[in-house]
Subunit: 206 residues, 2 copies
DNA sequence: TCATTACTGGACATACTGTCCAGCATCGGG
DNA sequence: CCCGATGCTGGACAGTATGTCCAGTAATGA
């Protein structure tokens, strides 16, 4: 499946790494194709035999990241259909830690946010799927619009992931962040803030 | 304070509107300075007497949006220091509805996400400030890292706002989304999913 | 009214893009 | 190990965008 020719694999890998490191240094839009090929130490013409665009290369990067993550998540997803385990989230944080630079490029929204949007949409689809399965399995009806629920949950994860990836040194272990995130999202901000009971009604929205 | 000369005000307004509409149509990076000046019906040279860059213009747009929002929020923030009212969030959604196109450009992450990052950081700073004030006022200690708490809360808002702004027709009133968001974040996903009690311990993260 | 300031079109050098090609190097199947 | 296939190369190309400059014209507001 993966490209046969050793030369191709090598070239693609070099181009990827070059784009990622340059985008982190100067910002994606300030990076030219020539910059990339120069750092990768390949001819400029070579770039165009593999990709039509800087954008296509970035697209490949997210695609691969998504593919990779999906693979890791596959065995965990079925478990999640019943209880609220944090396993998929934990796995995402671990994956991000391993592919830190690529994740940072994507999560910063380089490429006018297209890559990030794609990543988020994939997470959202998965979350929605899990939530639906869980509602069905447990015979409960969500009190809140499913779309809002999934978007919010993924938004939370991604926001914290962004912060986590940009903090140096890493402030928390993957296990620790995941746990916070899960507790927070399950029990709510009221609980997380240190209160004991449930929010009283005059605290509600107006 | 705002620029004196009528011509300047007019030109800047035209350039802004042109950039926003073009960015929505073609994507920010595909828009050239000449496209902008053409749509705005101003000479290309004029652009450079006001801005050095496309990026500077986009920067101005977020800056103004942030300024505007801050202004509207000022009277509400003090109220929020005690209870968990959703007023600031509601106001943000209203503001976004009024400035829909500009918000869409920013929230899509055009400009390699710089504008969005700026917007998010401003929201996060405000959230952190409110949370701290509230903890102090109520004499409670947060159970979760303040940084995680703020990032997550803002991430939630922004993710839902993005979805809300791109949905056509608008699926919910500002009041309705705000309420969902607030309930969800206060009481947690467990509650939102339709369960009654609190999450049991075997549902916890591993 | 009039001094100031903004807008204008056109021209400029510079830089990046994407395409093409002909020659050389490397590959992997037989 | 050979050799046909494929990838890599530098160099050249036209096309387009950038940012700067200028000298002439028009609008502004005091």
């Amino acid at each position: 499946m993966a490209t046969e020719d050793r030369r191709v694999r090598r070239t693609k890998r070099l181009l990827r790494d070059a784009l990622v490191s340059l985008a982190l240094e100067r910002g994606y839009s300030a990076v030219t194709v020539e910059d990339v090929t120069e750092r990768a130490d390949v001819g400029r013409a070579t770039f165009y035999t593999h990709y039509t665009d800087k954008d296509e290369l970035l697209g490949q990067i997210v695609a691969d990241l998504g593919e990779d993550l999906k693979e890791r998540l596959r065995p965990l997803v079925s478990d999640s259909s019943v209880g609220f385990t944090g396993k998929p989230v934990l796995e995402m944080f671990r994956h991000a830690a391993e592919e830190r630079d690529a994740y940072r490029v994507v999560l910063r929204g380089e490429g006018d946010g297209r890559a990030l949007r794609r990543f988020v949409d994939e997470r959202t689809a998965l979350a929605a799927q899990i939530f639906s399965a869980r509602s069905a399995a447990n015979g409960v009806t969500p009190r809140i619009d499913m779309e809002v629920l999934s978007r919010a949950w993924v938004g939370e994860q991604v926001a914290v992931l962004q912060w986590w990836l940009e903090s140096d040194p890493p402030p928390l272990t993957p296990e620790a962040v995941t746990e916070m995130l899960l507790e927070l999202s399950l029990r709510g901000r009221y609980w997380a803030s240190g209160f004991d009971g449930s929010p009283s009604s005059d605290d509600d929205t107006t």
